[in-house]
Symmetry: C2
Subunit: 645 residues, 2 copies
Amino acid sequence: MGQAPIGYLLFAEEMNYNPEDSKWANRDRFVLSSGHGCMLQYSLLHLAGYKSVSIDDIKQFRQWGSKTPGHPENFETDGIEVTTGPLGMGISNAVGLAAAEAHLAAVYNKPGMPLIDHYCYTIAGDGCMQEGITHESASLAGHLGLGKLIAFYDDNGITIDGHTDLSFTEDVGMRFEAYGWQVLTVLDGNTDVAGLRDAIKQAKACTDKPTLIKVKTIIGYGSPNKADTHDIHGAALGKDEAAATRGQLGWKHGEFEVPQQAYDVFRGHAAKGASKQAEWNKMWAEYQQKEPELAAQFKRACMDRKLPDGWADSLPKLTPEDKGKATRLHSQDCINALASVLPEFMGGSADLAPSNMTLMKCTGNFLKGSYAERNFRFGIREFGMAAMCNAMSLDKTGIIPYCATFTIFSDYMRSAIRMAALSQAGTIFVTTHDSIAVGEDGPTHQPIETIPSLRMIPDLTVMRPADGNETAGAYKYAVERSKNESRPTFMAFSRQALPNLPNSSIENTFKGAYAVIECADPEVILIGTGSEVHVCVNAAKEGLAGKKVRVVSMPSWEVFRAQPASYKDALLPKNVPTLSVEAAVTMGWGEWAGAFVGIDCFGASAPGQTCLDNFGFTSANVASCAIRCIAGERGALSNGSQGKH
Amino acid sequence: MGQAPIGYLLFAEEMNYNPEDSKWANRDRFVLSSGHGCMLQYSLLHLAGYKSVSIDDIKQFRQWGSKTPGHPENFETDGIEVTTGPLGMGISNAVGLAAAEAHLAAVYNKPGMPLIDHYCYTIAGDGCMQEGITHESASLAGHLGLGKLIAFYDDNGITIDGHTDLSFTEDVGMRFEAYGWQVLTVLDGNTDVAGLRDAIKQAKACTDKPTLIKVKTIIGYGSPNKADTHDIHGAALGKDEAAATRGQLGWKHGEFEVPQQAYDVFRGHAAKGASKQAEWNKMWAEYQQKEPELAAQFKRACMDRKLPDGWADSLPKLTPEDKGKATRLHSQDCINALASVLPEFMGGSADLAPSNMTLMKCTGNFLKGSYAERNFRFGIREFGMAAMCNAMSLDKTGIIPYCATFTIFSDYMRSAIRMAALSQAGTIFVTTHDSIAVGEDGPTHQPIETIPSLRMIPDLTVMRPADGNETAGAYKYAVERSKNESRPTFMAFSRQALPNLPNSSIENTFKGAYAVIECADPEVILIGTGSEVHVCVNAAKEGLAGKKVRVVSMPSWEVFRAQPASYKDALLPKNVPTLSVEAAVTMGWGEWAGAFVGIDCFGASAPGQTCLDNFGFTSANVASCAIRCIAGERGALSNGSQGKH
């Protein structure tokens, strides 16, 4: 209710949008970062004429199967750009949307033909301002000078606990000035519509900085007894107070009764948006004439959102004779191969580019003045980075975003990884240094539970490639999944060199698991992932010589799970003793194996190979555990505890 | 190398510490937030005379079993207060240490007897300043006016990617002023020791604000070829450059050769610290005379760090006849019971106190001017909150810290939860709204993988109580684990009401799992956790009437895992078909059961009971799955997918 005037201004006066085509590339974007106030957004979409939100949908607010869930969900309700609710994520998404706009404008706009030229608006509350993620993304937005980002800070002074005096007395405006934003203030956001209008004008006039419009509002404005209290934060007004509020606001209409005049205002403005899209279509026709090459690229990459023919041919192919190297280096090869053939492939690292090996050589840095370039320098801002990348995918202009950090620091952005999966964002998470083989940096930097715990996130695919071909397979999978399905993939690469394996290939990677050493009638099956597959191969060749051993590489649980039962049963027959080998916790491996080699404790600071040796990831230990497995032992046969000093 | 003058000043001039008693309650605290520079800290500890770091230890830098791992680890190296490495965590820990100081000083200090009166120093780098967690904790530190917190910002302009111009151009000083900090600048941190000294003096003079001392340094200062480059960020100088650096700095000594004069300076200062402790001991003797009651409390709670006799008697006990309620409400009862008998029990919520039910009624808000109170108002700052609480435990003054948020938002602080487990901090994580029964807020707020994924973190105990007695048991366990073992516990409570179960008790909770419905020779065993246990009980009574059914409540996997094999085998015999029932992903349940009822997809926005019904958490569905389990079916018999609309 406090944000209603802002919502009115945006949807009835300022924003260019067309409810008939919610994916029009040049639409203005809107993100309600304070997602718990989603009824505002549903009301605006309804008033504006989006078919996704009927008055019946509004009546079904937060009910099973409704299009009006308790927080805005882009995958449920057409017209919503991103899913919000987890605080700070939305405004960080908005930074990503603004970055996407800046990039596409720099690449595609030509004199007189501004193909991409729109604003990104967001409304954020006190919660968003307190969350660390907002610091990360706002600092980066200021650094990048994203002038078309306009954020309203709904400064109502109330959070769930009570008045912000309890916990939040910083000078938010000063902070954003320190980030390099323009900061404006509207003192009465509840009634001063002209002041809000003027602030938006000033925001648009400032083209080299994002703008924060600090709007003093009263939460629950109009409610005679509950306005300006935290009672109204997450709770409904109640029947009596709703009636009293109608009285105070002079609103003569009943529940769910919308006067035609209100529809007329919003739909009149929406019609202007449709006209603008019609004009844009004309310009687009002209653009196709004058800039046929760029137009073809824009049509394929951004409008049709299709991958070009033969794109995957660029990915490297290796044989066991090729010298082994770290999968993070194979990842670098893949990134650079893709960068050349996919202009929509862009991203970067949270200040670990030289470690993550994520720099694209064919393009420069995406910075103020060089928005056409594609290497993002996210800074040490994992969470903000991931939320930005999610939004670059959800921008629906075909961008394939990737972001990188050490595997362990996926914990810093875990909520954004989850949101990628939930909100169907095609973010590619590139992580390196994926096990205790990190070595010297020690247990703070050594993933143990990290990769297995990510496998638990619904609709996320986790890939841990074992060599060059699996890395190429992982990228092919991740890019297709991003572009064609708008779904995320999480990849984990090794710091250390690994040999190229027999039988590995892009095709086999797409099966999720396959035999690297085949054996018709095995006594035991060893399943490895990533850097442990070659240890299993060595165990099969050395300590298990004479035994009938199948070695399976399983780069992805999720992909394997989706294979036909016949393939799964043939590869991992239920009656054959099976041992998993992964430098991670053993929990969960019972789905595929009866016995496990893993590490159920924290690692240690020492050279990587020393860690692997001492925690049991040697071919000798794997062979010995395999023999125990053949003999009928089950459970965690080796879990790292013997290595603890 | 750039931070050496700061290190010298702190350890040779400013700080009060005693290497002979590293746990002296009134020592000054030091946190190296930029933990990758840990050799500085090891050198300082060695020079100061801590026995934990010999010159041989320094030679063993980052080697297996050494006391000098790649990042500072409090659990490896005496004299280190907190484990750092994950950026931003250390400075946030420092805020927690300063909060602990402020609280203890307010509670215990008496005129002329300042029992607790020390500073907390930290050195943070660009990475810390970019991370969102630092925003959260620094904003709160400013709000709280923690005047004894002195943070050095090592402004060397270099990160791993290169110069900070690439990604980080905000005005950090201005930002901290916006937080309410005093901000000072030393322009030449490499040689202007007097300037640094003066800045510390000014910092100490400002008693109502934390101070940030921005120190311009040159990374790798003294290295003729690598100073001021990112090549030196994470890599060793190399032999030649080390020699050249010695030359440039005029250092005539060999590798690992420390001139006696250097030892004399540091150890002379350390001796002064020992004298100060001796003086403190005299004051303490006087204090015990004059303030016997408070002294006894200080001795028990802070010095001996023991729980008082009979403290656990305060916890509620319930019977199945007691009206059921949400476990978050039982949690509130426990928190308030503990608050009355444990003055060292303190904490709060990240702005969800009225939802998490975490407010202690017997004490007020910990705010500027009321530091003696114990309710923290952390604001919407989960990650900063958790890091602060970790530090309050690692302060080693006996504080039992708790922090709260929705279960789902543990993702925001996951790295700090991991660090609690790794660094042996006794933080109690209180989370509520632990399943899809959250209801209307929808999938962004409904934990699916959250609880199972936390069970993967080594050395963390996860508790999901089913009723009032299990909640009391969880608190008894968590408090003992915090106080006696300095280890963390994560708790997840329901939003919705749950009945009190037969056979539940504190004692049974301490077994991790136990029968709520016993059956001598069961045909099937149902294992539930939390809100699903009573569903299992109902299934046993209704749909499975006539079958021999044991129902097991398993509040904690970790606790159960630690029981004797005989107990575990008797409760869950391998040959009895066993079905797990938990409103969470099924991955991992294979450790205890052969068949599962769970939810392997995201939830939906609808009333909580509707979600539970539609996703299969009904006694009818559980009974039907149990019958399939008896018939030999295995795997996820119900995983929520049938509920998706």
